[in-house]
Amino acid sequence: MKIKVALIGNPNVGKSLIFNNLTGGRSHIGNWPGKTVEKKEGRCIYNGVEMEIIDLPGVYSLTAQSIDELIARDYIIEEKPDIVIDIADASNLERNLYLTLQLMELEVKLILVLNKMDIAENLGYNIDVEALSKKLGIPIVTTIATEGKGMDELKKIIAESIHREWKAKKISYGREIDELIFKFEKLIAVERQFSTKYPTRWLAIKILERDEDILKKIKKSRNLDEILKNIDESIKVLGDEPDVALAEKRYEWISSILPQVLKGIRPVTLSDMLDKVFLDKHLGIPIFLSLWWSLFRFTYDVSAPLSDLIDIFFNRLGDIVKEYISNEQLASFIADGILGGIGGVLVFLPSILFLFFGLSILEDSGYLARAAFVMDKLMYKLGLNGRSFIPILLGFGCNVPAIMATRTIKNEKDRVLTIVVNPLISCSARLPVYILIGGAVLGEYATAGVYSMYILGIVLAVSMALLFRRIIPFFKSGRTPFIMELPMYAKPILKTTVIHMWERGSLFLRKAGTIIFLGVISVWFLSTHPWGSPIEETYIAILGKILEPLFYPLGFDWRGAVALFFGFIAKEIVVGAFSIFFGFGGEGEEESLKQYIRTHKIFTPLTGYAFMAFTLTYIPCIATLGAIYRETGSWKWVLFTVTYELILAYTVAFTIVTAGHLLGFT
């Protein structure tokens, strides 16, 4: 006997902590079918009873307004979980009960969890749990998830629920509205296609509210004319915003029972005082920037030695393989293909783990929401969201963790937009290319040239964000009004942080890792076959030569094109590719490589600069594409990013070359 349990609740109520407590932190993460919203499932066994636990998205309501709400609602209606656990913040009962009321109307077997009881107590609230349970007609469990308190009671009540039945109270909307609801209910109840699938009173309420999703569904009704007539009639009573009228009634109902179950008044809290500082007009931005800088340094500086170790380890392993396997082709396949591929995935792991360690602390402490408040004014003007700022800034280190960090952006459209422009932010892997080419051909302007690439990246990212907002329908409608709750400040819990860090790391390995691995192997194959031929005759060179005419207007020859192919694996390999072409092996020969590029006129200052801009802009590296696929859950956005970046790169490089010629540069 397996019980299907769905967890639901407002954002910031401690839902994921309760999920972790119930499942022991072991979960399966996927996406909701066809959506970019994440789906988390886990398992829990109590007294021999097996429970399958599904974490629904955090929502304030169950209208058809946002994807999150629709997913949660459809899951409850279609999948019919055996039990629904509504997690509410005990320190913020009034607002949290709004969702509870909507779940009661769905006529599911509902248990209310009052979490954060310690905070409620500290605020001086005294909740009469028994009285509240009677008023709602559902069992209540009180918990302090941060200390693991109340978890056994919760498991017990879930396990025993199969033997118990209960019915939540019906909320009255007042005589007039109740009569309207009843009218619709009678019309629907006679049709089996509705009455077997939906709770009829709930469906009637949704029709009365003119819920977009439900109105589509009742088009199949035999009584459609009658229903539409009744809707017209209801407008006379409820005005043209019936959903708002009903929402007000729900709050009225909550306000009417609250004084009977809740005592105490809210004092000034530590959160209020901290907000005075963190959200200060003058201090807010400097505080944010210094916290971001700490996160940035923590992510990349702490992980750099570990990444280097992984890199060295796989190189050594490769050398050993080459030494012991006499068949050169096989040795190269194992060393450069397979080990290169695995190493190429694993080098990203330390920075992803450290980033999510830091990010999780910032989020759990309540600061990340404040950062969005502080940065919103600026980001709004740039066509982005207050929460886009951190992922954009992290891109200067590496776009892979940066794209994974977009997870903190709640709005799907804002998140996808932040993801697709992120590769334009110049990551640290592109710097060696700028230094090589800039150093070779720009002379005394080399430093300025390198810096200008970073500026160009920001300018392009912002322009593309603004452009996509204007011309792409998906993003156009995406600008939802900015309304966000600020959670109370809280002490981050180490266990949660570590679980979060591990979840992200393993997701990266499983989902993005395979793509990176396959990419590395294909480029290995193209650049070493036909086996034994010099680099000029490999498949990749043939491809480069075919594409050469395309690059002619930009002033790159086939070697430039091939180097860019290699850059697809990781941008810094562009440098390595040049040293292979010109017969320079190993490191430390960079000066002579620069010399060679200069004297053999591989690039002029103008085409060199255009090449730098091209490297900045063209396609994201394989790892970044893997991260885009993982975070958007669709190849569509991967393809979109590759296409627009290629067009943009060509346009930018061509503009530089043409404008340069007109200005008399060579």
Binding site: Y60, Q65, S91, N92, R95, E248, K281, D376, E485
Partner: protein, 83 residues
Amino acid sequence: MYMYRPSRIIPLAMLPEGVRGIIVKIIGGRGLVRRLTEMGFTPGIEVTVLKSSFQGPILAMIRGSRIVIGRGVAMKILVEVGG
């Protein structure tokens, strides 16, 4: 000194920091009004502005929770102050 101050109705965005008002009406599209209502912004409820500058979003306390609202949205929430 006692001063007679009549009550007046202004957008929430115009309310200075630390001042309380009573929500009178929300003007705007159906989606916006519905969202705000669901977050607890209903007529007759007291709202306090915690943070507000002349640009950018505002932070308000309503029904015991802190809600950040974009300036554009805050212009559409009419509140009654004084009196």
